[in-house]
Symmetry: D2
Subunit: 282 residues, 4 copies
Amino acid sequence: MSKKYILTVTCPDKSGIIADITSCIAGNGGNILNLAQHTAVDIDMFFCRIQFSASDSFEIESFSQSFKKLEKNYDLIWHVFDTGKKKRVAVLVSKTSHCLYELLLKHADGELDCEIPVIISNHPDLAHVATAFHIPFFQVDTKKGKAEYESDLNQILENYSIDLVVLARYMQVMSADFCDKWKNRCINIHHGFLPAFKGAKPYHQAWEKGVKIIGATGHIATQDLDQGPIIFQDVIRVNDTRSIDEFIRMGKDVERHVLYETVRRYLAHAVFFYKGRTFVIE
Amino acid sequence: MSKKYILTVTCPDKSGIIADITSCIAGNGGNILNLAQHTAVDIDMFFCRIQFSASDSFEIESFSQSFKKLEKNYDLIWHVFDTGKKKRVAVLVSKTSHCLYELLLKHADGELDCEIPVIISNHPDLAHVATAFHIPFFQVDTKKGKAEYESDLNQILENYSIDLVVLARYMQVMSADFCDKWKNRCINIHHGFLPAFKGAKPYHQAWEKGVKIIGATGHIATQDLDQGPIIFQDVIRVNDTRSIDEFIRMGKDVERHVLYETVRRYLAHAVFFYKGRTFVIE
Amino acid sequence: MSKKYILTVTCPDKSGIIADITSCIAGNGGNILNLAQHTAVDIDMFFCRIQFSASDSFEIESFSQSFKKLEKNYDLIWHVFDTGKKKRVAVLVSKTSHCLYELLLKHADGELDCEIPVIISNHPDLAHVATAFHIPFFQVDTKKGKAEYESDLNQILENYSIDLVVLARYMQVMSADFCDKWKNRCINIHHGFLPAFKGAKPYHQAWEKGVKIIGATGHIATQDLDQGPIIFQDVIRVNDTRSIDEFIRMGKDVERHVLYETVRRYLAHAVFFYKGRTFVIE
Amino acid sequence: MSKKYILTVTCPDKSGIIADITSCIAGNGGNILNLAQHTAVDIDMFFCRIQFSASDSFEIESFSQSFKKLEKNYDLIWHVFDTGKKKRVAVLVSKTSHCLYELLLKHADGELDCEIPVIISNHPDLAHVATAFHIPFFQVDTKKGKAEYESDLNQILENYSIDLVVLARYMQVMSADFCDKWKNRCINIHHGFLPAFKGAKPYHQAWEKGVKIIGATGHIATQDLDQGPIIFQDVIRVNDTRSIDEFIRMGKDVERHVLYETVRRYLAHAVFFYKGRTFVIE
């Protein structure tokens, strides 16, 4: 029986790189299923994501050993993932349920390749949703003060061996320390089309500006609020007969879709971080 | 034979307003062809656009006299337009032709309800396009200094009895005086999705930010650069394998489309200005 | 306190109609909140939907009496609805849950203006979803033969005083008798972009044809399979690297969205039926 | 100085194929700039498009010789193109100009990588457009009878050494012989969303069906009218207040865009034909 792996490679563009990478995979008994690569001509960088299968005798360590030999020549940043080892995702929520339901329903439908072992909230309102999906639910107490409550949060995340934190309309700003600890491993959904409409009440801002299209943005949480690298965005046209309440209603569908697509791309190891932005290579 | 008119009404929302307006039109021999209205519940304002036909004996003055009686009761702002009198539009361009061609081709196809009696540029490059469409072309000299060159510009606009100025990728910032003189009568196309990416090189800004969707915005020119009321916007999805040059290429199609749709809505008297934003009521 | 009503009017286009309708509403103490009208110039027909409020003393019967006087002059088809009386909707499902969840979650969020008193299925699989939302669930036995099983179905629908039947990926073709009995009161979601790809396995058909865009269609169920009047459609771009399974996965999001938007428009009395098609006037 | 080549490969999926192809390119001194591949899991076929550069000493013949050795092992269909040799495209038109202008303006802007040495029509109306762009214009006489007039047509196409024929709203059905002679080298724009609305007056058909979205389809001309492999499609939402004339007006923008994107993909050698459909691999 065969197992599947994903290899991601980032390096300065240089002739021969693809042939060398693919030969190394073949030489270790890997069979390429899918190869997506992109040379960003504006910065002369090469990004590559390769899915390959290999027999049970394939060993990640020995592959890594032989792949390491390319490192020096090409100045590589690379990772190889065993797709059989599912990422463990914690979902953080406050009171609105649409993003949480989206993740749980997609997961139940086999469309999110991860485990969701825990749901955490600063409010009790969505406990029943967690229960309906048989997932442990924890309520954290933000009134303790940010440092202390985030310490509780981190304790739960550690206890459940979490790989990725997803803020699914979690209405708390995370501290710089938290963002640092979970660097590139904490995803937020912002209910506005970034970089416009950062911060609070983006739909109110959008309505007052009279924009004709609204959107949502899935991005990495960083200490600059709503400024982290963008992973996915989507928009919806709104005509001027729509009220702010309708913006909010229509926006929910965009938000949940964007959050799902953001997490899906992340879990597929399709998101490359480079110089403050992402390159999503599928 | 019948003529067509458009009546636009803005006022605080109040019971009975539609019945009173439509009765006044009927009482003056008008036949409503199309009525679009919207009550913006967030600010309790009423916007209404009515297209009606009337026989040749209908007189705008006597209609206006009788309509004036509603003014006091409803605190109305209103205008009535004879659609037979076409607006005269000046197109200002620099070196890129795609927006200019869009306006000229749509006009030639009967899809822009106006006259285009003059094209003005700060460069000679597009003179041949004007010539091909048999439209006078003027080149203005920006090196004279802003005040003097804008005075030349205004002279041309006056000579041609211009009603609406369209900046079709005209790469000059207009002075506060010019924006004031042409208040709500000067349209600009910004090649970015406002309110993000104001100012120069918006595609470069968008690429560096790693956005996944780019757009263009048709708006009223005001002295706050790229900040005037938005009339129309459109977007296009860009995946991360696109270079800045491809952003620029793909953006052109969005820009020309947005500019056309912006001007078309304006000419149809579908654009209402209120508190710094527009309400487009179609 | 005021109540809200919706009046819908269909008639051949004729001068004066809007003034007469709006005056009749005003004369009966109604206050127009929203008026949407459309004259379909290709067939010279007039469609109008008016939302109005009135005090508790307003009586639908006396309004109807006075409105009836317009009938003869204008050859009207019209209805007036008290929006306080919510429609009762039965949802029919088979094994896939995404459309059912969409309706239940939107309903729970206050975004579907109806009651959902019963869920019916030809399989037991989704009983747990009904239970989670505290809605009675019935399983019908299609093996009894179409006539007998549909009789059971009708009995349940009658018992629950159902106004609208929604087939939410219900994998049974309804009989001509059933479609007749529920004429214009039974909505189906077809997982293809009609009129292409009628019948079974539309995603397989689409993939084999190599289309670049797939879609879903919300329509009235009629005895011509997937041929009834269309109420809402949406699409999604699929590139040629997508497999049939991915078409199915991506299609689910379009299906649930289309079904929701279809039902929402129907419940808002925005759907006019005329000559085998709909006119959705919002 | 380096030259650029594109290699396209189609074959049954088999382990090792990418490594062998990329090694062969590297072995011949080629430098891969871009590699896009796709394994269609539903039919177990492999499609690959590789852009590579090579020094002036690179010879297509010797590369082909060495690449041929892979043929047997992998059952390859393959082509290698020197991107320096531009395709020669003939544009055929009737009376409407929007598709013709689109191709000519994109070409003038450097966004269509081909030569356009000749424009042919069955009407004189668009001669002035050809003239404005300094391109020879021929009028063919369809009244001669199909065989004879198509013989004239073929003569012109031969005289100009045409590689690709583009029917840019050319309102003539081509004969089976013509489609055969130009197999996979003749592109048509159909102003409807295929496979729905084949044949004449698709916008009328769409309006009468009451669809909520209309579209256009760029496809290979075959003797089954509007049934050839689809290369690109796009759509636009139409609400029910739109008349047939407005469908036609709005459709024009979709048509011209679809035609441009179709031709662009074709010229980029991104279009693979397999079992009656295309796979566009970018």
